[in-house]
């Protein structure tokens, strides 16, 4: 009880958030739950990217490619080999993780800029690369998946609470939520213990880290591998939740979205990816829904705005955030919070859980 009472406010916040997310499907429509699931999927991918960029200081503009790999791995296993979907999730993650790890090896030789270029090129090429082995990937047609039914006990349990049995969408949402919580918890532990410290040491100064005995190459490739694992799982869950993937599902814009989400939320933080994912996921949707609903805007204009709006907004917000708040939302909150605390308690108080600084030059 004592520990509960002295736990920092952060823990309570997390508990509230988890409860909120768990209870969400009971109060919103099935469709909305699946939308939120989509945001959580992005959160997982962004968390992975965050481990790479925020904590180990490397750049990737190509995480969409890893998502594609995870998505297609799952989809092919389910479609061609009739595996149960849930089983394919960890497989997709591991496969992508291994590929990511291998990718991390040549990446060691590249300076930040060249790595950005190489991963960017990878992201642009990904749709074409997917189309080619058409017999395996279904080529341009993509792969259509049947969404699994919830197991009976979940259906009944849900019905007991809300009166209606659980739908497929809602079941998928819970699967995604479970993965999200698990992976976030894992990331939190990773960051708190030695691997996280080592990575941050590498991020903040490789030469110094090497001199202190940190296996720089090892941790950098590990970061790539873990990061890709997350993206692979996210891709797999993405395939699960949308039920259809094709080469056009993974354009270069996706990789940029992931990076934007990471930065806006706040790199080198745990809640950052979730906040960033919400921003990235709902911004286009909101502008897609709000603008056409305004009857005073003529339709062709509305259509163009809907198509162009998010891009202009993204771009502008991204630039403004980099100029004024490079540590993202979390950075702003932290700055505001610690400023407030300092004023309330006076200087010299012990700061719990101070967020690491923003990414450093590689």
């Amino acid at each position: 009880m004592q520990r509960l009472r002295s736990a920092p406010p952060r823990y309570w916040l997390v508990l509230v958030a988890v409860l909120f997310l768990a209870g969400l499907p009971t109060v919103v429509t099935s469709f909305q739950a699946s939308e939120f699931g989509g945001a959580l999927v992005l959160a997982i991918a962004i968390m992975g990217l965050n481990i790479l960029v925020g904590y180990s200081g490397q750049i990737s503009l190509g995480h969409g490619a890893f998502m594609a790999l995870g998505a297609y791995t799952s989809a092919i296993l389910v479609h061609a080999y009739k595996l149960d979907f849930l089983a394919t999730i960890p497989i997709a993650g591991v496969v992508t993780g291994v590929v990511g790890f291998l990718f991390g090896i040549p990446a060691l030789r590249l300076s930040a800029l060249y790595l950005a270029l190489a991963t960017f090129a990878l992201a642009v090429v990904t749709p074409s690369l997917i189309k080619r082995p058409a017999t395996l990937t279904g080529g341009v047609q993509g792969i259509l998946l049947i969404q699994p039914d919830p197991p009976q006990f979940m259906k009944d349990g849900f019905a007991a609470i809300t009166g209606t049995p659980m739908t497929s969408d809602q079941w998928i949402y819970y699967v995604i939520l479970a993965c999200t919580l698990l992976l976030f918890w894992f990331a939190w532990n990773l960051v708190r213990h030695r691997p996280g410290r080592a990575m941050r040491a590498v991020r903040d100064g490789e030469v110094a880290a090497a001199a202190s005995g940190v296996n720089v190459a090892g941790y950098k490739t590990l970061a790539f591998g873990v990061s890709a694992f997350y993206a692979g799982v996210a891709g797999s869950l993405f395939a699960l939740s949308t039920g259809f993937i094709s080469p056009d599902t993974f354009p270069v814009g996706l990789s940029i979205q992931l990076l934007v989400g990471g930065v806006v939320g706040g790199l080198a933080s745990i809640p950052g990816p979730l906040l960033g994912a919400i921003f990235v996921y709902f911004l286009p949707i909101e502008s897609n829904q709000w603008v056409p609903s305004q009857t005073w805007i003529p339709t062709p204009v509305a259509n163009t705005v809907v198509k162009a709006g998010p891009a202009v907004t993204y771009g502008a917000i991204l630039i403004l955030i980099m100029i004024f708040a490079p540590n993202g939302i979390v950075g702003l909150v932290n700055a505001g919070y610690s400023g407030l605390r300092r004023r309330l308690r006076g200087a010299g108080d012990r700061e719990t859980g101070q967020m690491p600084p923003g990414p450093q030059t590689v």
Binding site: Y114, F120, T304, A311, P326
Partner: protein
């Protein structure tokens, strides 16, 4: 043999376009150690401006230089307004800012001009000329010629004029240059303006073939990256040579390697980038850019 020559000429023409955009990338890289991910989108936007001018009745040969001037001014404006506040920030921040710019320009183009592909006029006709038995279109030759002229002018500017000298000084040795009275900050802005204008050339040359639309330059920028990396990211000469090599290679690969075909040419560019970075990261003409620990 004739087919080969045709592909060669065609490859050189694309190469000229890649070289122009690659040169823009190199100019900005030299100005600030940063690759401008928005270069392609800025070039596309400039091309749209040219299009708008032509639609309002300007002749091609008036719209072209006028667009270059506007692109130049635009490049300077972008540097002053967006880049300068984050000049000293880490690489990642700058990369993200240029990505933001890219998204912004893309969206703005879509917003102002729509997403329907438009045809863009070319002053060169598509009739072909018989050279040593191969057929090359005036269009291709025109692109090669124009690109060549622009690149030559840039070379002369950088190497033979005082302004070019101060730009190079500011790029390589900012602190020492300040002690010589060079206004380093403005030289950086000038670099951006110049790069923007050169990029506009690339866009205007590419538009007739690719059709003008907001996503027009997204593949071209990858080829330009490949060219810049191959030539050595710091070397303007490398950008030109790299551009030509990439143009020809990609064309020939598409024509003669069956598994490449039309749509995997981009993957060839990726392969070039990866190969160069793994084998000889400083490219053909550059200095080492790989980090040593």
């Amino acid at each position: 043999m004739q087919e080969f020559l045709q592909q060669l000429v065609s490859g050189l023409a694309s190469g000229g376009i890649f070289a122009s955009l690659a040169l823009a990338l190199v100019l900005i890289y030299n100005a600030m150690g940063l690759v401008n991910f928005a270069q392609g989108e800025m070039a596309m936007f400039a091309t749209f401006i040219a299009f708008a001018l032509i639609e309002r009745g300007a002749s091609y040969w008036i719209a072209f230089p006028l667009t270059l001037v506007l692109a130049f001014a635009g490049g300077i404006a972008v540097q002053r307004i967006v880049i300068r506040p984050v000049e000293r920030a880490p690489v990642l921040t700058l990369v993200i800012v240029t990505l933001g710019l890219a998204t912004l320009f893309n969206g703005a183009a879509g917003f102002l001009f729509g997403y329907v592909p438009r045809s863009f006029p070319s002053p060169f006709s598509l009739t072909t000329l018989n050279i040593f038995g191969a057929y090359a279109s005036y269009q291709d030759l025109g692109v090669i010629a124009v690109s060549g002229v622009v690149l030559l002018l840039i070379y002369l500017l950088l190497q033979r004029t005082t302004v070019g000298l101060t730009m190079r000084a500011a790029a390589h040795h900012p602190e020492a240059s300040r002690l010589l009275g060079v206004r380093v900050s403005w030289m950086l802005a000038l670099g951006w303006g110049l790069a923007s204008a050169v990029g506009a050339v690339s866009g205007i040359m590419a538009a007739p073939a690719l059709l003008l639309q907001p996503d027009m330059m997204q593949t071209v920028i990858i080829y330009a990256f490949a060219a810049a990396v191959l030539g050595g990211i710091e070397s303007p000469l490398g950008a030109v040579v790299g551009g030509l090599i990439v143009g020809v290679t990609v064309n020939l690969a598409g024509a003669y390697l069956p598994f490449v075909g039309g749509d995997l040419q981009l993957a060839v560019a990726l392969a070039i980038i990866v190969a160069v970075l793994v084998i000889k990261p400083n490219g053909l003409f550059g200095r080492p850019a790989v980090r040593r620990v």
